[in-house]
Amino acid sequence: MKKLYSNKWVILSLVLPGLFLFVFAILAPICLSVYYGFTNYSGMGSYQFVGWENYKNLFHDAAFGTSLRNSLLLAIGFIFIQHPLAMIVAAVLDKLGGKGENFFRCVYFIPNVISVAVIAYLWKFIYNPDFGLLNNIIKAFGGKGDINWFNYDTAIWAVLIVLIWHGFGWGMLIYYTGIKNIDPVLYEAAAIDGATQIQIFFKITLPQMKPVIQVNVTMAVISALKQMETVYLLTNGGPGNSTQFAANYLYQQAFKAYKYGYGNAIGVVFIIICLLVTVILNKIFEEREAKIKVKEVA
């Protein structure tokens, strides 16, 4: 048995395809990015090595700062707007039961299966100040309905709303599953104690969902960092750079401003930030869990 399970050739044959994909599609491009990040390569012709020049510039690049700030805003928006809403709706849905429950769950998830390309274009129309749906709704309620949703200062919120709307079903579904997994005995006990629905939600549902929330928060932060496609189509970072995101910015720099080297430097920093954030989040949650366990034991 042992011999069979430690046959090197068998192991190699099993992990080779996975490793090949990792090396070819992830590791090699990262190495290439690191290489070009040290050059002033425009994308065409010859280039020189410029040392840390690109990274120094990046440090002073206001647009890159805006990108990171926007990612942070987006993560906050996800965590403090989308997730509480999703959790409440999931809790409400859980109470419903029957065919209605399935119906609503299905409806909420539908935007999620639609392509970002469609969603972004659709919302471009919805936001249009002159004939868009949103202003028409305001008009229908007697308002003036001439809001410019992509105003320089508020455009990022307009983007946020689209992302929250698009991802709502996903978040809801995960919380919904989390709630369904809670042991019903706990609820029964609480009911015997005469707890109200709201008390039950805060005393039982919420604490029981901790692991699910942690996973969701991590995912929210990462997807806020990785955001590109919706922004690319909806605003392409504008007006000005007010809705810029790192991925979109590096794409623009490399393929629009002929700064392929600089674009790659952004890519490298971007990857490092993503790795760091994931590791930090995991650490925070691990420590917390450990502390909670200690408390429980105590």
Binding site: S42, G43, M44, G45, K124, Y127, N128, P129, D130, F131, D146, N148, W149, F150, N151, Y152, D153, A155, T235, N236, G237, G238, P239, G240, N241, S242, Q252, F255, K256, A257, Y258, K259, Y260
Partner: protein
């Protein structure tokens, strides 16, 4: 139940795998087929099968310039059965982005290019475009000076397609019904903006999301402010990175005043080309600022006849205290075509390029389809059936005392272009001061 999903998935997987097989066979079959197709009697330079890739910035193949381009391609393929031309078309912004990606590793055979420093300088430095023989084009009737933008060190690398004129398209019927007059001065224009707004329409639809039409507008203003000094002021500023010349400051301030006066539609700074155009052709906006290539609107069947036949145009009105007169107009030779230096079928590609520029092709068809003016002598194709809109542009050019040349955003390196096109929104909507704007675009020049 689970078993069912799995079996569904497995069957899907199998079907797709089979489809993959079929797909493969299909394509080989079809290419086999075309290889067998008669090509011997084609009578072209070579009997071999050739596929030319054309990369174009004209995605609308059923109207205007795109239609003209496609028509010529179809004719060429008919006359040369051994040549197959594949077109990839993207709209301007996406086109320019992908062009740069392509230029890293080899361009398609024939490409749309712009004879302007911001676009062409780096491209020519990298040597990705094939050199053309200028003397070949002696009889092609190119307007004098129109080839200059496509040259480097005296060598020619591309050919211009149009003579572009910037203009204010307006809805004549709407103007008449409301008793509005075409403005003679810039102040009148701003005043008119208020009047139109009060009547419940958008004064002018502006493609502010893309940046370049705003930059053209700024150039147009600057030309009216600085007059014949325009090009020296601009080239000076780009060379030194110092944009504090009083004319540039004044033009930029005027642009901001214009936005403040509400000439542009609400949210102009985030709306794209199509949105701006649609506002105009659907009767929401009274005016629309764009280049002469959009004169084909007058023949576009998708637009209501009532509006289509009533589109007219005027050029930038004079600015109080400015040096430019009403007949000094913003016009330039911009878009055109070039051939890839790394093309495997360079000769065929150049042959096709020359075919397009035969005077009775691009120029004639363009004229017939109301696309505005080509960069070649078109007088032979005047039929008397031109739309009034076309004639207005022709008159504007014929009566012009001088033309501006390249718009400001296209005069510097591409980092400058990217900078000015994204910051111009900020300066017009007031989120950035004029001084900051000018120093920021100055920095991008270095």
């Amino acid at each position: 139940m689970r078993k069912k999903i799995v079996s569904v998935l497995l069957t899907t997987a199998m079907v797709t795998a089979m489809l993959a097989g079929c797909g493969g066979k299909d394509t080989t079959a079809s290419s086999d087929g075309s290889e067998k197709s008669p090509s011997a009697e084609a009578g072209s330079s070579s009997g071999d099968e050739i596929t030319l890739k054309v990369f174009s910035n004209l995605p609308d193949r059923k109207n205007g310039q795109g239609l003209v381009e496609q028509k010529i391609i179809d004719e060429y393929m008919e006359e040369n059965p051994n040549v197959k031309i594949e077109v990839e078309a993207l709209d301007e912004e996406a086109y320019k982005t992908k062009f740069k990606a392509y230029s890293m590793e080899g361009l398609p055979d024939v490409v749309s290019i712009w004879g302007q420093p911001a676009f062409l300088d780096e491209v020519l430095d990298a040597g990705v475009l094939a050199e053309l023989n200028e003397s070949d084009y002696d009889d092609y009737g190119f307007v004098s000076g129109s080839l200059e933008g496509f040259k480097k060190d005296g060598k020619l690398y591309g050919l211009p397609r149009n003579t572009d004129v910037a203009g204010f398209y307006y809805n004549q019927k709407m103007f008449e019904d409301n008793g509005w007059e075409v403005p003679k001065t810039y102040d009148e224009l701003l005043e008119l903006a208020g009047t139109i707004k009060d009547a419940g329409y958008i004064p002018l639809a502006m493609d502010g999301g893309d940046g370049w039409p705003m930059a053209v507008y700024l150039s147009d203003l600057l030309y009216k402010v600085a007059g014949s000094d325009y090009s020296s002021i601009v080239s000076n500023a780009v060379a030194t990175g110092d944009f504090t010349d009083s004319s540039i400051v004044k033009a930029t301030e005027l642009l901001k005043e214009t936005a403040d006066a509400g000439l542009f539609q609400n949210g102009y700074d985030s709306q794209d080309y199509a949105t701006a155009q649609n506002l105009f052709i659907n009767g929401q906006a009274a005016m629309y600022y764009m280049g002469s290539w959009d004169a084909s609107m007058a023949l576009n069947e998708d637009i209501d006849e009532d509006i289509r036949t009533n589109i007219r145009v005027f050029t930038m009105p004079v600015v109080d205290g400015g040096k430019g007169t009403a007949t000094d107009i913003a016009a330039w030779n911009g878009g055109g075509y070039g051939v890839s230096a790394s093309s495997e079928h360079k000769d065929e590609a150049i042959k096709f390029l020359n075919y397009m520029y035969q005077p009775d092709k691009l120029s004639k068809y363009g004229w017939e389809n109301g696309v505005g003016m080509s960069a070649q002598d078109q007088s032979a194709y005047m039929t008397g059936d031109e739309t009034e809109l076309q004639m207005q542009f022709v008159d504007a050019v014929n009566n012009a005392t001088s033309v501006s040349g390249t718009p400001i955003n296209d005069c510097g390196p591409s980092a400058f272009k990217t900078g000015i096109e994204s910051e111009i929104q900020s300066v017009s909507n007031g989120s950035m001061s004029v001084d900051d704007f000018l120093s920021s675009i100055g920095k991008a020049c270095q």
